[in-house]
């Protein structure tokens, strides 16, 4: 990993980073780390983290693709969840300070790394895969272009967890409320013309908590790094649940 930025104009940026190593720390604390960032070009928050890690190699965070595809580096950047790899410093910095915390609502494993088990447990409940009952066709299950289009804005989710961990209902009932990410995936398969388990999927969402704990706060829409709209997906499922009641 190279942490050298070949530029001549540098300025100091103070990063304020959440630190917690349960094997040595009694409780979490915030650490200031000063780094030199270029003034003549924008870098991403992840680049700044790499620079901070050079100063303090014990700093821990997840990252992989560094281009907003893998969803590894979701974190709370100056109070708002986002992906560090696609968040430019120019957008993130407030008053020449950058405060980084782990995504809220999930247990911290270390520093900016959270335990996402609860998040993936909820995703598992919505069975995020095609369920078919009819006999397999010879080649493939075909879709019209219009049917395929209805999945736009749904299949792009990278499961970074930014939305669910920004949702107060998920903080309060993480074991009962599925959260925006899982519900977006649920709608992705309910809306899929090839899926044949719509009724079963809706039955699973009929209780008071799984879906109906969404209060329309819309933090999920505000923070989604892919620009998706889980609130709309939740609303679509709710409409489907209500309309089948009347039929």
């Amino acid at each position: 990993m190279s942490a050298v930025i070949p530029v001549s104009h540098l300025q100091t940026l103070r990063m304020n980073i959440y630190r917690f190593n349960p094997s040595i720390d009694d409780k979490p604390y915030m650490q200031d780390i000063d780094i030199e960032v270029p003034t003549d070009k924008d870098i991403m928050v992840l680049d700044a983290l790499h620079l901070a890690k050079v100063k303090d190699p014990s700093l821990s965070y997840r990252s992989s693709c560094r281009e907003g595809v893998c969803g590894s580096d979701g974190m709370n950047i100056n109070g708002k969840n986002g992906l560090a790899c696609i968040m430019p410093l120019s957008e993130a910095i407030k008053r020449n300070k950058l405060t980084l915390r782990p995504m809220p609502g999930l247990p911290v494993i270390r520093d900016l790394i959270v335990d996402m088990k609860t998040f993936f447990d909820q995703l598992e409940k919505v069975q995020p895969y095609l369920i078919t009952k009819s006999k397999n066709p010879e080649k493939e299950r075909v879709q019209s272009p219009q049917e395929r289009e209805s999945l736009d804005g749904l299949y792009e989710c990278i499961l970074c967890g930014c939305c669910s961990t920004a949702c107060p209902s998920f903080w309060w009932n993480p074991d009962k409320f599925l959260g925006p990410a899982a519900l977006l995936q649920s709608w992705r398969f309910i809306a899929d013309s090839r899926d044949e388990a719509t009724e079963e999927r809706l039955d699973d969402l009929e209780d008071s908590f799984s879906l109906y704990r969404c209060h329309g706060v819309m933090n999920c829409v505000s923070v989604c790094p892919k620009g998706l709209n889980p609130t709309e997906a939740i609303s679509n499922i709710r409409n489907k649940l209500i309309s089948r009641k009347g039929s």
Binding site: W172, N173, P174, E206, S208, F209, L211, L241, I242, K245
Partner: protein
Amino acid sequence: MKFLESGTNEFLIIRACALFMFLYGVYLIYFVVSNPGMDYLLWKSFFEGLVIKVFSTLFLISFAVHTWLGTWAIGSDYFTPARLGGFSKIVYVSYRFICFLIVLIVFIWSLIIIW
């Protein structure tokens, strides 16, 4: 699934009650605005009609159901083990008891006044 364990039923009931209370409120406001020189006698005679008594009772039922379901939703959001740890159960039960008492007192007291 039982009727009252259905999120869809709760969702519809809460909104139906809210809609009814809204329409009742609009009608009351309309009555007040359309009678500019209204005095106590007119107000009293208005509430003595059988139809308005029935609708006021329906309003009270809507209020009780809406409040009961609404405060349950608020309580089960805020008073959870995730927020309050081991105290959540006692806080939640106390909160529900207080809500029940308030709704019951308001409901019965209002019924006595109306009828």
